[in-house]
Every structure is written in C-alpha cells, then in structure tokens.
C-alpha cells in the first residue's frame, strides 16, 4: 500500500513491538545483574555466565540439544524438500490427499498429542528411548515446516526455467540439480534454520520421547524454572537469544540479497 502510515498505525506498530521485545530485553539485562535478587540491581557483572561454565549438567544438555537439532534439522530438510517437490512437481499421484494432509497437520497439532503418540509408537516398537528417538520425533515435527517454506518458493518459481533446461537437453534429475536446487537454495536454507530453532526450542515432544542420558536443554531449563527464577537461566537464555538473533540476521541478509537481485531483474525487464 502506498499511502503512508497514519499516527494510529505508527502507535500500534510501536506498541506491538514494545510488547514483543520488552520482556526479552529485561531478561537479557538481568542476566548481567550482579545481584541474585531480580528486583535489586547490583551492577553489571558476568558472574552468572561464569557460573554457567561450571554447570556440567547445563553444558551437557546444551551439547545434546545442539546435536539433536543439527541432525533432525538436516533430516527434516531432506524429507521436507522431497515432500515439497512431490506436492508441486509430481502432478497427481495415488494417496496425494492423505499425503498433503499429513504434511500440514503437524503445523497445528497440539504438541502433547504428537509427543504422546510418538512415545507410544516407540514403546510399541520396543525401542529404547533416548537421543535417537528425540531426533526422530523432531524430524517428524519439523519436516512439515520445511515443506511449507520450500513449497511456497517452488510455487513462486517460473516453471518455464525447468522446461527451458529440459528443452536444451538436460535430463529431469540434472535439471533439478543444476536449475531448481540453486534457485530454491535460500528457501531450503531458511527451512533448515527454522527446523533447527524449532528443535532447539521444543520441550513437550522431547519430554515425551527422551530417555535416560538424553536430557535436552529445554527439559533442563524447565525443571530449573519450575523451582523459580535463577540468574544462571537468564544467562543461558541470553546466549541462546544471541545465537538465534545472529543466525536470523545472517539468513535475512542472504535472502535480502536474493530478493534485491530479483528486484533488479524486474526493473531491468522494464527498461
């Protein structure tokens, strides 16, 4: 829309963002508080970060969480991309309706249901719960998010690019590798990062599907938080926020470069 924002628009956006960011900012600031009491400001300090470095339990949980997130995000990216290709490039096939149903349902399915059902599956299959069951559970959950992201990119994609490649003698699989894949790469990267952060974030499904020796960071934080506010938790949260913010900024720079190239292309076409 071209018409400029009205004062009402500006105020609502400003208030909205204040609401979204204020709690996080407060959390970050208090992670640097020298005092153990939240209301008392004891001056800037890194004491809780130092404490964190000595907390074996938190560190090992963090390491497990990162490994789970990398593995499940990678698997989900492969599966999700394949699913997106199936839904946009394969025309009709038997069971397509069920397939698209299974792809979109986990996006809104309450986590307690997904978690419980996966756990009961693992029990029925007599699988020992632990690291790998969490990886499988997170892959299942995040595949669908990857699919939706890649799918919307594939739909916005000029189909005649693929036809042109085949017309010039490029077989279908090679066309996918040399033309389609490079052009949807930003969406695949975005899908991976979303899957990664969802896995990093998940408490409920991990609680159901985990086992001995595979306590993830959210499970650890949850059990600490139930006992009350602890400045160490503020510190670990701040680190997680910093990591996610960094990843988001980098990825948005990548996609913005992509978008600005497309914009230039559109402008060029009018010359």
């Amino acid at each position: 829309m071209k018409r400029g924002p009205s004062p009402f628009n500006l105020v609502s956006v400003a208030l909205g963002f204040a609401f979204l960011y204020l709690p996080i900012v407060i959390l970050v600031i208090y992670s640097f508080n020298a005092s153990r009491l939240v209301t008392v400001w004891g001056g800037w300090s890194l004491v809780w970060y130092r404490e964190l470095l000595n907390d074996e339990a938190i560190l090992s949980a963090a390491w497990i969480t990162i490994r789970v997130a990398v593995l499940s995000a990678s698997a989900a990216t492969v599966l999700g991309t394949l699913a997106a290709v199936s839904l946009t490039r394969m025309g009709r096939f038997r069971g397509r309706l069920l397939f698209s149903g299974m792809v979109y349902a986990p996006l809104v399915m309450p986590e307690v249901i997904t978690g419980l059902s996966l756990l009961l599956l693992f029990v029925a299959l007599n699988v020992d719960r632990g690291f790998w069951t969490v990886v499988i559970a997170h892959t299942t959950l995040t595949t669908c998010f990857v699919t939706v992201i890649v799918q919307s990119r594939l739909i916005g994609f000029d189909r005649s690019l693929e036809e042109a490649a085949m017309d010039l003698g490029c077989p279908p699989l090679k066309t996918f590798m040399t033309i389609t894949l490079p052009l949807i790469a930003p969406a695949i990267a975005a899908g991976w990062m979303l899957a990664f952060s969802l896995s990093l974030d998940d408490l409920v499904i991990a609680s159901f599907t985990t086992g001995p020796g595979a306590t993830t960071l959210p499970i650890r934080i949850y059990s600490e938080v139930r006992l009350g506010v602890k400045p160490e938790i503020n510190a670990i949260c701040t680190i997680m926020i910093a990591v996610v913010a960094l990843v988001t900024v980098v990825s948005s720079l990548i996609t913005r470069r992509d978008a600005s190239q497309q914009k230039q292309a559109a402008l060029g076409a009018q010359v």
Partner: protein
C-alpha cells in the same frame, strides 16, 4: 492428406513436422481437437489465434511439454510422442525467456551444449559465434538481471539456437518488447531464419506479426484449424466468415445466389466475380475496407454502387477509417489513404456519399 499434397505441389519440400489427428484435453476443456497439420522443412510457420485457441498447447507438444491424448506427432518421419523433451532435436524460446538467473549470459547460451559433452573450446567458439549473431558481443560475462529487455530477448534467442535445432519454437517471442523494438526484431528474425534455413514455428496472437514474418499461417480457434495458408491467401482468400472477420477489417453482406455472377442481398443485386454460384444458396460477400471506393457523386460505369451517409470517421494518420450507414441500416467499413498532406478529411460526418467496388473486389464465402 489434401493439405500435404497442396503443400508439396507448391514448394516441393517434404513435411518436417506432421500432426496426425492429434487431440488434447485439459479436464473437460478440449485444447486441441483431432488436428492434422504439416509443417515443411525450412518454413517460417506461424500459429495464430485468439488466446485459449490451443496454439501454445500445439507448440508445447512439439517441444514435448504436453503429450497428446490421441494422435501422433512426427518429426522427420519419426513418431516423437514417446521421446522426452530433453531428447528432442527441437529448441524453444519461451515467452518469459526463462533465462537462468543464477548463470551469466555465456552460461545461459552455453547451457545446451554443456548437456552434450561438447569440448570446452568448441563451446567457447560457438558461444562467441552466437553472441555475434545476436549482436551481444562483450556482454557474455553479464548476469541476466543486468540486461535490458531487448538484450534478454536476444540471449534467449541465442540460447535456443546454439544447438542448431531442427525446429526453433518461438512462444510469443516479442510480446514483452515495445512496438518499435518489436517491429525491428521481426525483420531480424526473418533475416536470421533465411540465413540459417532452420524451420521456425512461432506462436503469436498478433496477426500483423504473423503476416510479416511467416511463410504460412495456421489460423486456429477453439482447438481447430480454421485455415492454413500463406499470409496473402489468408487475407485475400479467407475460407470462412470467421477467418475473414478475424484477420483485418471486413464488412460482411449476406445474400442469396441469383444466377451467374450475381447475388441478391438486402442492398439489391450485387455483381461478384465467381460464376457458378448455384441458385438459391445462402452466401456471404466479404469486402475489405480498402477495396471500396467512396465519392460524392454517383460514379459512372461502376458495377456495384450504393448510396449511404458517413456515420463515423476514425483518423489513423496514414489513412482514415469510415463507417458508412447504408439504406438497410447496416454499416459498411471503408478506408481511404490520406494522400493529401494537410488536407482535412474529404468527407464529414453526415455527408451523403456513394460507395462502389468492382466485382472481383469481394470475397464470396459459403460458410
């Protein structure tokens, strides 16, 4: 096979592409209906028709992006229906150009050759040759988004020609260009086609473009061929009212055969060139506007003379298009070249005028 014989007798060239009773449906909509067509070797062939007439589907069938529901398609005598697009010796220039945005100009042009294990040196040589052919020397290293619309069009052309295809398919290749550039490019395309001798099949909805570039035109409507002929034949000898009306401007007068060389119409008896009209049959006389002359006085000795009143004048620069109201209330289109440099239009709205035309100016149609 009448079309084939007719064609062979004219040029003596063998058909390169043959559609044999080809049908294609999308759901319930028939895009192409039992269509039979031959396209000769070395021809510049145009598929012309309103949007949705099936012309693009036909083109995409040659490329292999659509499979016919029924019928067969031959290329050089071989049935190509089972051949996938990447194994067909035809190349296509897309309406959107479909240039790969992540490759350079050179990368785009070389793409086809890279699929065939052609040596590095030969690729470089042929890309340079193509850049020269489309006058893009020195732009090989550019990215696609750094090019103007006209330059992109030429990259797309070069990319589709580099494999020396047996047929070049052009899907509305000039639609994205402005009018002036389009006119120049039309002549460039013709020159290129003559130079290379490759068969070109172009899809267009612009009849002027089809008439200028093509050796033969297939006029299509609702998945069927209405007429396949040279541009002159299509314009001067349309085979139906639909084609006469679709191509250019025309006035159609309904009449009934009344003896040799005469038809009876609401405007009285009209002399026509055809002798054997067959008594009593309903016929239509199609008159192109430029073939009718207009005068203030009744012209002496003219065969078909009719009185009327100027109802509308459309000034178009090089000529003016008149609509003249006739005695039966119908309108006749007349166009008159504006030969007079600063002359005002010779007739004004409301003027009483006389129209006349020789018997062989009209086209007699039976359908």
């Amino acid at each position: 096979m009448a079309a084939v014989d007719e064609h062979l007798s004219r040029g003596g060239r063998a058909p390169l592409i043959r559609f044999e009773a080809v049908s294609k449906r999308f759901g319930v909509v028939a895009a192409v209906e039992t269509l039979t067509l031959d396209i000769g070797e070395g021809e510049f062939f145009a598929l012309l028709g309103p949007s949705g007439c099936g012309k693009t589907t036909l083109l995409r069938m040659i490329a292999g992006f659509e499979t016919p529901g029924e019928g067969r398609i031959f290329l050089g005598g071989e049935d190509i229906v089972p051949v996938p697009p990447h194994r067909r010796p035809v190349n296509m220039m897309f309406q959107s150009y479909a240039l790969f945005p992540h490759l350079t100009v050179e990368g785009n042009i070389a793409f086809g050759l890279r699929q065939e294990n052609v040596g590095r040196e030969e690729i470089a040589m042929r890309v340079a040759e193509m850049l020269g052919l489309v006058r893009l020397q020195g732009l090989g290293g550019r990215k696609i988004h750094q090019l103007s619309g006209g330059q992109r069009q030429r990259v797309a052309l070069a990319r589709s020609l580099i494999k020396r295809p047996r047929v070049l398919l052009l899907d509305e290749p000039l639609a994205a260009l402005d009018k002036k550039l389009r006119a120049e490019t039309q002549f460039e395309l013709m020159e290129l086609q003559r130079k290379l001798g490759t068969t070109f099949v172009i899809v267009t909805h612009d009849q002027e473009e089809a008439m200028i570039v093509a050796d033969r035109i297939a006029v299509m409507n609702q998945g069927r061929l209405m007429q396949v002929a040279t541009p002159t034949e299509i314009y001067e000898q349309p085979n139906s009212r639909w084609v006469a009306d679709f191509i250019g401007e025309v006035t159609i007068i309904e009449g009934r055969a009344a003896g040799p060389g005469t038809i009876a119409s609401a405007l009285g008896p009209l002399a026509v060139a055809d002798r054997d009209t067959g008594a009593g049959k309903t016929m239509w006389l199609a008159l192109r506007p430029e073939k009718v002359s207009m005068s203030a006085e009744r012209p002496a000795g003219a065969t078909n003379t009719i009185a009327g009143t100027v109802s509308e004048i459309g000034y178009r620069g090089e000529m003016s298009a008149y609509k003249v109201r006739l005695a039966d209330g119908s309108l006749m289109k007349v166009s008159i070249a504006n030969v007079n440099a600063r002359g005002r239009a010779p007739y004004a709205e409301g003027d009483a005028v006389w129209l006349s035309w020789p018997p062989d100016a009209g086209i007699l149609l039976v359908s």
